[in-house]
């Protein structure tokens, strides 16, 4: 039997080191555990500082004793490889383990054990823990803002319907797959807008936008019979003509009367709020900023100088200023730029401002993808006789967009995280509602609960989005 040399453990006395090391290590964890969960101080007979550092010292020695390479015991090897490669790592591992054990009891007690779940007034919350009754009472407001309680089914219905319509892509058969892009880029946003306008806002049945839709539908139907050579000019001119004809010639008088009919009670956008507003704003900004960004990125790489420099100026301007000043601009400066009788709703202004802002970032991300494609792709497409649009739609963009999925996902995440900023113009989404609830005299002093709640909500949304983008990236990854 060899003597145990405690300074350099080796394989000869494997079990001797193993048992003494493991027992020391467990002892140190036990001391901290008892101290933190049951306030038992096993080492109180020692002087203060030593008693404080004792678990660390014991644990360190324990880990030192079991640091034996290639011991042949699977469990031991895993420990050594992962948390115990050298002295420094062992120390850090111990510190992390102790910190977790130490911080668990106060966290648990705040979140669950001492927290109040029941009740609907401030008096119900007497414990030292969190007051979840506060969240419960205000939950409706955090979700729907100042939207009237009796009308909230309209929001729910719209969101459920939009979720179903958005999920259509998963069920589409091969035959309809080629129309999906058209559906998501053009038709779905219009449907979504109509839902928001008629259901959530309760707008009149006929309004300016309706002429636009009719004009668009008519011109798309006629568009199928136009030779593709003239299509670009056709779509530039005809829809606007039809719109003007409809509005001022055909139905002017009759529709003013129809326009006053409302199916639902009108709820002005100032009353919208909470998480549903976060969703509405992010949803529309997502939908708008992508095509705008796409065109900007193509414009920036175009060889037509005027378009190129306008795109560069536009992109650099929006990227250079903080979003909050953009929102300031949309709320205090923009009304000065409109005729006095023209009024654009606050929410619409905000959505336009955020979309343009994020579009500049999307444009830069897509430009990265366009630049990453080898020249050969452009040359090959041109040699097949493709024009600019055909080349981009069928050859360049499918490859470039695939490359930039992570970047676009990051921009979209940033957009969702930027939505709370709309408090600048007085719209209160979930964070804004929290600040309002916090100042309610009957519910003072629960800021922490509110912010923790909102953090968890945002974390779930953003984390799910980033995981989804990762899946997309994996799905569309092709060998190059």
């Amino acid at each position: 039997m060899n003597k145990l040399n405690f300074l350099s453990p080796d394989k000869n006395n494997l079990y001797g080191y193993l048992y003494s090391g493991i027992s020391l290590f467990s002892l140190s964890i036990l001391i901290v555990f008892l101290n933190s969960f049951f306030s038992l101080d096993l080492t109180s007979f020692l002087p203060g500082t030593i008693s404080y550092f004792l678990p660390l010292i014991i644990g360190f020695i324990g880990l030192h004793l079991i640091r034996i390479e290639y011991s042949g015991i699977k469990f031991l090897d895993i420990i050594n490889k992962n948390i115990n490669t050298n002295k420094f790592n062992a120390l850090l591992s111990l510190l992390i383990i102790f910190a977790v054990i130490k911080s668990l009891p106060p966290l648990l007690s705040w979140f669950i054990i001492d927290a109040n779940f029941a009740g609907d007034s401030k008096d119900a919350c007497s414990g030292s823990g969190a007051c979840w009754a506060y969240i419960k009472t205000w939950f409706n407001r955090f979700m729907y803002g100042m939207y009237p309680n009796a009308e909230q089914w309209r929001i729910n219905l719209s969101f459920i319907a939009l979720a179903f319509l958005g999920g259509v892509g998963f069920f589409a058969t091969e035959k309809f797959k080629k129309y999906l892009t058209l559906y998501y880029v053009v038709i779905y946003p219009i449907i979504a807008f109509l839902f928001i306008f008629f259901f959530i806002s309760g707008g009149p049945i006929f309004f300016d936008f309706s002429y636009g839709i009719i004009a668009a539908v008519i011109s798309i139907i006629i568009g199928f019979f136009i030779p593709s050579k003239f299509k670009m000019y056709y779509f530039l001119i005809i829809p606007i003509t039809i719109y003007i004809l409809l509005k001022y010639v055909f139905f002017y008088e009759e529709l003013i009367e129809l326009g006053k009919i409302q199916a639902f009670e009108w709820v002005e956008t100032g009353a919208w709020g909470g998480l549903s507003l976060t969703f509405i704003v992010s949803f529309f900004c997502l939908i708008f900023c992508f095509p705008v960004g796409l065109f900007l990125s193509l414009g920036r790489r175009s060889d037509l100088p005027i378009i190129k420099y306008i795109s560069i100026g536009f992109i650099e301007f929006w990227r250079g200023v903080p979003l909050i000043t953009v929102l300031f601009m949309s709320s205090v400066m923009f009304p000065m730029f409109l005729p006095e009788d023209m009024f654009i709703d606050k929410l619409v202004r905000v959505i336009i401002a955020i979309s343009l802002f994020e579009a500049a970032y999307v444009a830069e991300v897509i430009r990265g993808g366009l630049q990453a494609l080898p020249r050969g792709q452009y040359d090959a497409a041109k040699s097949l006789g493709m024009g600019y649009w055909k080349m981009h739609i069928f050859v360049i963009l499918p490859q470039a967009l695939k490359l930039v999925i992570p970047g676009i996902a990051n921009t979209f995440l940033a957009l969702v995280k930027d939505t709370p900023l709309i408090f600048v113009v007085g719209l209160l989404e979930i964070v804004g509602m929290l600040n309002l609830a916090k100042t309610n005299p009957e519910w003072l002093g629960f800021a922490m609960e509110g912010y923790v709640f909102a953090s968890i909500v945002f974390f779930i949304i953003c984390y799910a989005m980033s995981k989804y983008s990762y899946n997309l990236e994996q799905k569309y990854k092709t060998e190059r």
Partner: protein, 381 residues
């Protein structure tokens, strides 16, 4: 000339000019109706509002331009503090994410995933309204190391009272210039003769000795002023003397640096991972020790990947510091685009100045970055 190339350009130009013309025509009409004339003359008028926290001397009798400067300096202050801390935390966390210790890697990953998925505004609110409000009142605050007081009214730290501060600063500048010279000389010596000079030791020595000389010979002296508690009224206490960091500044700097650090950490991780393993093995095989491998082979290549996105993050941090307006930290947006705009009603002038300031800042930095990228890019033959 090709018709197909002219038409789209012409159309775009016409649309842009129409939109701008429409906007400026309306602006003119609106301003005439309200009796406002466009101009930047108001900048020299007396501002007659106060700012809570200012780096330069300022009160209501100063001009609007001075108020603009106060806001700008406060923005720069919080950005610099944020950048320093974000870099430190980011580098540490980024390296921790590469650790072979499972616990450390997980802790760093959880930190990154958690803090970057929560809106910055929410984090600022959390620190300001929830976390810092839990601090004790001034009269109940426990001193930290006897001289620091962390209270609900802010963080009170001892201040230096300087005599002949300018000489001290000159000595620091002189030390930095000397260090640059030493480095250039050492590099030349290394290239010509292959002899290494202990640059780091000499630099530290210079940094200590020159300022020390300024104390001994230049007549510089500094005394430390410790904050002392003072009673304002029956129930209200505060600390007099020393330096006061307002809670707005602390929470803003905390939130900005913790949030941006997650992005910097990812940049650092990507940079170090981007250096191929072959480089390290090749460096080791020519006999460099691990420190030299890191310093001479891995870091220069990793930095090339790390620096561009990191500067982008610095820029984002500076722009994000405008969220200060939400918790009433007197930065550029709050002082100028908030209070000054309310008082003068000159929306177009003030918003345009504010935007131009940020624009100048970011365009300057991005021009510098482009130059730097070109300089460090690998020159392929």
């Amino acid at each position: 000339m090709n018709f197909k190339k002219i038409l789209p350009q012409l159309l775009t130009l016409v649309v842009v000019i129409l939109v701008f013309g429409f906007f400026s025509y309306n602006a003119q009409v609106n301003m005439e109706n309200r009796g406002i004339t466009f101009g930047y003359g108001f900048l020299s008028q007396e501002s007659s509002f106060d700012v809570q926290f200012s780096l330069i001397e300022y009160d209501g009798s100063h001009s609007y331009f001075r108020a603009y400067l106060v806001g700008l300096l406060n923005t720069i202050l919080v950005s610099v503090i944020g950048i320093v801390f974000a870099t430190i935390i980011g580098v540490v966390v980024g390296i921790a994410r590469l650790s072979n210790n499972y616990l450390i890697e997980r802790t760093a990953a959880i930190y990154v995933e958690f803090f970057r998925n929560i809106p910055l505004l929410l984090q600022i609110f959390f620190w300001y309204f929830a976390a810092l409000r839990a601090l004790p009142l001034p009269e109940k605050a426990e001193p930290i190391f006897g001289v620091f007081f962390l209270t609900i009214k802010g963080f009170f730290v001892p201040a230096f009272i300087w005599n002949n501060l300018d000489i001290f600063i000159y000595s620091l500048i002189a030390a930095i210039i000397a260090i640059v010279f030493v480095r250039v000389y050492a590099k030349k010596k290394q290239e010509n003769q292959g002899i290494q000079t202990p640059v780091l030791l000499i630099s530290i020595g210079l940094l200590i000795i020159l300022p020390l000389l300024s104390f001994l010979l230049g007549g510089v002296n500094a005394s430390i002023e410790i904050p002392v508690i003072e009673q304002l009224s029956q129930t209200s206490f505060t600390y007099k003397g020393g330096l006061k960091l307002p809670p707005e500044l602390i929470s803003l700097a905390l939130a900005l640096s913790l949030y941006t650090a997650t992005f910097i950490a990812e940049c650092v991780r990507a940079g170090v991972q981007g250096v191929s393993k072959g480089q390290k093995e090749a460096a080791a095989s020519i006999g460099l020790n691990p420190n030299q491998v890191l310093k001479l082979v891995v870091m220069p290549q990793a930095l090339r990947i790390i620096i561009p996105p990191t500067t982008n993050q610095y820029l984002n941090l500076t722009k994000n510091s405008s969220l200060a307006a939400a918790i009433a930290y007197p930065d550029l947006v709050l002082v100028f685009a908030g209070t000054a705009l309310m008082q003068t009603g000159r929306a177009i002038e003030i918003v345009s100045i504010t935007m131009l300031t940020y624009l100048t800042l970011s365009i300057t930095i991005s021009i510098f970055m482009n130059w730097y990228n070109k300089k460090i890019a690998i020159k392929e033959k």
